[in-house]
């Protein structure tokens, strides 16, 4: 199978490219990046060809593309790739607004290509294990969730609202809303949020707390932020506690770590040894294309988690709950 990559603006592009290189019978045939220096360097690292012209890149004979551009360019690249009949794995969030997301889903449907959204957390072994426990009924009925996704300020285009569409709350809410929807098979109907910016001197949000309610009355709290500084032992966290009528289970996707102590600036460091969820995502996408099946994480999944994140901004602005 032949795969191309569109933009290395998002840092996940590197681990996705690593994933492609690890898979047998999958070839990274080219990298499109308008940032010539970045594109050329990536092409050299992954022993492939760099293209600075999108149309020329899309003329390549390849089955699929992985899009890791700035968020506001997802639509343009998805539309062009779909029209060129390439299957697509698009970095999250699907888009910066619902109208773009809907258009992306429709164009992929019209051109009969797969649109998968990159939610690697779905491929974390402990997260999957809890999903299995839920599906087997081991937790009973779910009544509430408690989730966190906190990390470091990524800087660059992430803190430019026009390119990113939102700060920490957009960046770190979509993942956990996706997991909650996946665990519950229900949609969020109400969002209440407080969003602010104070961890960094930036003109975009870096902290937010959300309270959600699902169709069936399940309630959830979510903590999204870029509150982790470089001296903190790890980049951040992804946790979800599922409160069920039979038992409560807490899962921490990055719990599997060794603790190392040194006398440097960062005296304690957590070194993760759990499964590589980015590789799991890439492996799944390639299999999905190979088998021609419905993607594990659809464009619609991307749309619904984006909808909740955008509602959080509106709720914080209006200081009232938003009904979806």
């Amino acid at each position: 199978m032949k795969v191309g990559m569109m933009s290395f603006a998002h840092m996940h592009a590197y681990s996705y490219a690593d994933g492609i290189k690890r898979l047998p019978n999958v070839e990274l045939v080219g990298i499109f990046d308008e940032n010539v220096e970045r594109g050329q360097e990536a092409a050299k690292t992954y022993n492939t060809v760099h293209f600075s012209d999108q149309a020329e890149f899309l003329e390549l004979e390849m089955d699929a593309v992985i899009i890791c551009s700035e968020n506001n360019r997802h639509k343009e690249m998805v539309v062009n790739a779909a029209k060129a009949k390439k299957h697509i794995l698009c970095e999250k969030p699907i888009a910066t607004n619902l109208s773009d997301a809907n258009e992306m889903i429709q164009v992929c449907k019209d051109n009969a290509v797969i649109l998968q959204i990159a939610y690697p957390v779905r491929f974390s072994s402990p997260i999957q294990q809890v999903k299995q426990m839920i599906d087997k009924g081991e937790l009973g009925d779910i009544i509430a969730f408690r989730t966190t996704n906190r990390g470091q300020n990524p800087g660059g285009w992430f803190i430019d609202e026009e390119q990113s569409g939102g700060g920490a709350v957009l960046d770190h809410t979509v993942h956990m809303v996706d997991i909650m929807r996946w665990y519950l098979n229900e949609e969020v109907t109400e969002v209440m949020a407080i969003i602010d910016s104070y961890f960094h001197d930036i003109a975009i949000d870096d902290a937010g707390l959300l309270t959600l309610e699902f169709e069936n009355g399940v309630i959830a709290s979510h903590d999204a932020s870029w509150s982790r500084f470089t001296e903190y032992p790890t980049w951040g966290d992804v946790t979800i506690e599922v409160i069920g009528t039979k038992q409560t289970v807490k899962v921490d996707a990055f719990k599997e770590h060794i603790r190392t102590f040194s006398s440097g600036e960062k005296s304690l460091e957590h070194v993760f040894y759990g499964n590589d969820m980015d590789f799991g995502l890439i492996h799944d996408f390639i299999n999905c294309v190979k088998e021609g099946r419905e993607p594990s994480v659809t464009g619609y999944d991307g749309l619904k988690s984006l909808e909740v994140s955008l509602a959080a901004y509106e709720s914080s602005k209006l200081k009232k709950p938003i009904r979806l």
């Binding site: 104070y198 309270t211 009355g217 309630i219 959830a220 709290s221 903590d223 509150s227 903190y232």
Partner: protein
């Protein structure tokens, strides 16, 4: 003779290394003639024992969850559960270093009993004195016919401080607390801070001392009662700014 009598959840108290001279008694009647003013008497905070000291004139200390309309004008002292824990005192020290703390505060209790929102009211009172005046609050509760019962309270303290406090009613007592401040992060989980690991037992009881109760308790007055009513109204959907 005026006696010092502390009503408490006995299972929460650590009697070791107490500064005060303590005697645990089962009932007021047990005090008899041998009682003396140099001793602090500790009793389980149960309704009939509280009633028995109503007009005694003794120096009475009760938990905030025991404060009712009947006993709030008796000149008793009231204390708040959260404020007595040594870990909370340390948290207060760290957060209190900032003039106006900015950050995300997350607090979660697993409790045996929800005590009709009284525990939550007391926690709000304590937290508000640390984080600032509440600007907004939203309370979400699960369907109360489902067990366990879970409550999420979203709070805006204005000026850059926000909080989620959550309560789950279950067969254990546990407190988790996190503060994500500017260049300061605090993490606490009572389950992970057990100094004694005993076999496969997973439940733990966090405790505080009678000394802490006596040091933190405050005399019940109209200002305190009004303030607690304010928080209670907020929890029950009352107006706020």
């Amino acid at each position: 003779m005026i006696l010092k009598i502390v009503f408490a959840s006995i299972e929460k108290l650590d009697f070791r290394n107490a500064f005060e001279n303590l005697t645990l008694v089962e009932s007021i009647e047990q005090l008899g003639n041998s009682a003396n003013e140099d001793t602090t008497y500790v009793l389980a905070a149960v309704e009939d024992q509280l009633k028995a000291v109503e007009d005694s004139g003794h120096e009475i200390y009760i938990p905030s969850t025991g404060l009712t309309a009947d006993n709030q004008s008796l000149g008793w002292h009231v204390y708040f559960d959260l404020e007595n824990y040594p870990f909370y005192q340390k948290v207060k020290e760290v957060i209190g270093k900032e003039d106006k703390p900015k950050g995300v505060f997350r607090f979660r209790r697993i409790v045996n009993q929800y005590a009709n929102n009284l525990l939550l009211t007391g926690d709000l009172y304590v937290l508000s004195s640390l984080l600032g005046e509440l600007q907004g609050i939203q309370v979400k509760q699960t369907n109360q016919i489902m067990i366990p019962e879970h409550t999420i309270v979203l709070m805006d303290f204005g000026g850059g401080t926000m909080a989620h406090i959550e309560y789950t009613v279950a067969e254990q007592e546990r407190i988790e607390l996190e503060w994500s401040g500017i260049k300061t992060i605090i993490e606490f989980d009572s389950d992970q801070m057990r100094p004694i690991q005993q076999g496969s037992r997973t439940s733990s009881q966090i405790s505080y001392s009678v000394d802490a109760i006596l040091a933190s308790a405050q005399k019940v007055d109209q200002e305190l009662v009004t303030r607690l009513k304010y928080f209670s109204n907020l929890i029950n959907g009352g107006a706020h700014s």
